[in-house]
Amino acid sequence: MDSFSFLILAAIGLAIIFGMMGVINLAHGEFIMLGAYITTLLSLAGVPIPLAIMLGALGVGCFGFIVDKLIIRHLYGRPLDSVVATWGISLIMGQGMLIIMGPSLQGLSTPLGSFTVGDINYSTYRLVLGIIACLLLVILYWVFMHTKFGLRSRATMQNEEIARSLGTNTSRMYTSTFVIGSMFAGLTGGLYSFTMSIGPTFGSGFLMESFVTVIVGGANPLIGTVMAGGTLGVVHSGLSYVFGTFIGRVGLLVAAILFIRLWPTGFSGLIEKKLIRVKRYNG
């Protein structure tokens, strides 16, 4: 459960930006870090926690907007160049934060206390994180699969020229998708800022997990991500608990490798095949 919500929340912003736009955002970790900083600073200033988290997400959303307008906008349809640019962005953000805020920031206590099952304590906040992860996925699924905006944005990413000639303001679609992705990265940062120590490299702890989850998820950024997060989460936490964290981490990576080898299009490819079957037989 724990591992699941971590993988999902780590991946969610990236899933939108990579899954929808094909932009490999190497600054994803730094976006998360920025969210954590904003949330932490606001909380330290006395802003209530939920509000601080929301403002963190919004702040990173705004930042994403600026980054998009200045840089990413010029790189639509050039995913390789965006690798270079986002790498540059990540260098600037990481070091910039170090220069501005120093190497560390006072962390905050996890809210909501803990509960006990058997003789083991669990943090309530962790449970809340799990619920939030699920909720976010439902919301995102709904937004991207069942609203006009979602449809247009998916269409734009597949064939920009045709979407444009069908009356979709495609540059706005790109921008909003990037901003939403940034917002979710910021949200993740905000949510985890209460459980982790805060510093300029805060985000790099999410990077590996987020990439693995998103890519194992495959082409469909949402369904795929959930399934990948679920499966990898079980593998990871199971192995970590029984054999220790090292095996857990290696197991996560090996599971990802084997999975992709068996289903070379990732989870969404697998699901789509199943779905077609089901639909045909039902209808």
Binding site: I276, R277, K279, R280, Y281
Partner: protein
């Protein structure tokens, strides 16, 4: 009935079969796109394959090339079962295909496109000569240095035909070779196809341009909902009431 196999054998000795499809079937989910199709093409034949949109024509080509593998049935090339052979090997066995959606390398030049297509079949020091010959043949020699993405739809179509020819196939599969071509270009294509056929290339083609079909084809197979619907000479087919109903429609446009 008992005698049929022997009869068939006789046919074989006269006309060597180049391609044989046996009970070919493929399902996509619950959709049976190709349904138990049997088709024999003899060496040197020029066979048309027509039928409504979504009848399964292109899918049959893909099955012949091994892009899809069939749910059931076999593909037999020159008496060898190639159902399990990989795509690239089938290409090396002498099947050339022009797909329905242009499959040119958009970011390369025309020259590079033909070169890639030809180099597996032509000795290295003749390759430039061959490229020029092919380009001239289809009339795109002036476009060889252009990036293919910048060519018009029709020009890409020509390029693709040149690429297909460069492998000197024994069996040529053409999926809608004249789509998007004007009457003059269509006629020209017909000429090329016929010439190739005279030189011994067996050809199966798909097209919706009945004038083109009429012009070059001796025998036509009509496919409908994945299954063979009718087969015969072009005249027979064109007068087949059912075919008119499902496919040809009234003749209002003829004679243009």
């Amino acid at each position: 009935m008992e005698l049929q196999p022997t009869q068939n054998k006789q046919v074989t000795s006269n006309h060597e079969k180049i391609l044989e499809l046996k009970n070919l079937t493929i399902d996509f989910g619950g959709l049976r796109a190709v349904n138990n199709v049997n088709l024999t093409v003899n060496r040197g034949e020029l066979r048309g394959l027509i039928g409504p949109n979504g009848a399964g024509k292109s899918t049959i080509f893909k099955l012949i090339m091994g892009i899809h593998s069939p749910t059931a049935g076999q593909v037999i090339l020159k008496e060898n079962d190639i159902t399990k052979t990989s795509t690239w090997q089938r290409a090396r066995l002498g099947i050339g295909i022009k797909m329905q959606i242009p499959g040119v390398f958009g970011e390369l030049t025309g020259y590079e496109n033909i070169r890639i297509a030809a180099q597996n079949y032509v000795v290295p020091n003749e390759i430039d000569e061959e490229i020029n010959r092919l380009a001239k043949l289809v009339g795109i020699e002036h476009l060889l240095e252009h990036e293919v993405n910048n060519l018009s739809h029709g020009q890409q179509q020509w390029l693709e035909i040149a690429m297909t020819l460069s492998s000197k196939p024994e069996l040529l599969l053409l999926d809608e070779p004249v789509a998007g071509m004007g009457p003059e270009e269509t006629a020209f294509t017909a000429e090329i196809v016929q010439r190739l056929n005279k030189n011994g290339v067996s050809i199966i083609f798909i097209d919706h341009d009945m004038e083109f079909v009429r012009k070059i084809s001796e025998r036509v197979t009509v496919l409908h909902q994945g299954a063979t619907f009718a087969e015969g000479s072009i005249a027979e087919i064109e007068s087949n009431q059912e075919v008119i109903e499902i496919y040809l429609g009234s003749d209002v446009y003829e004679g243009a």
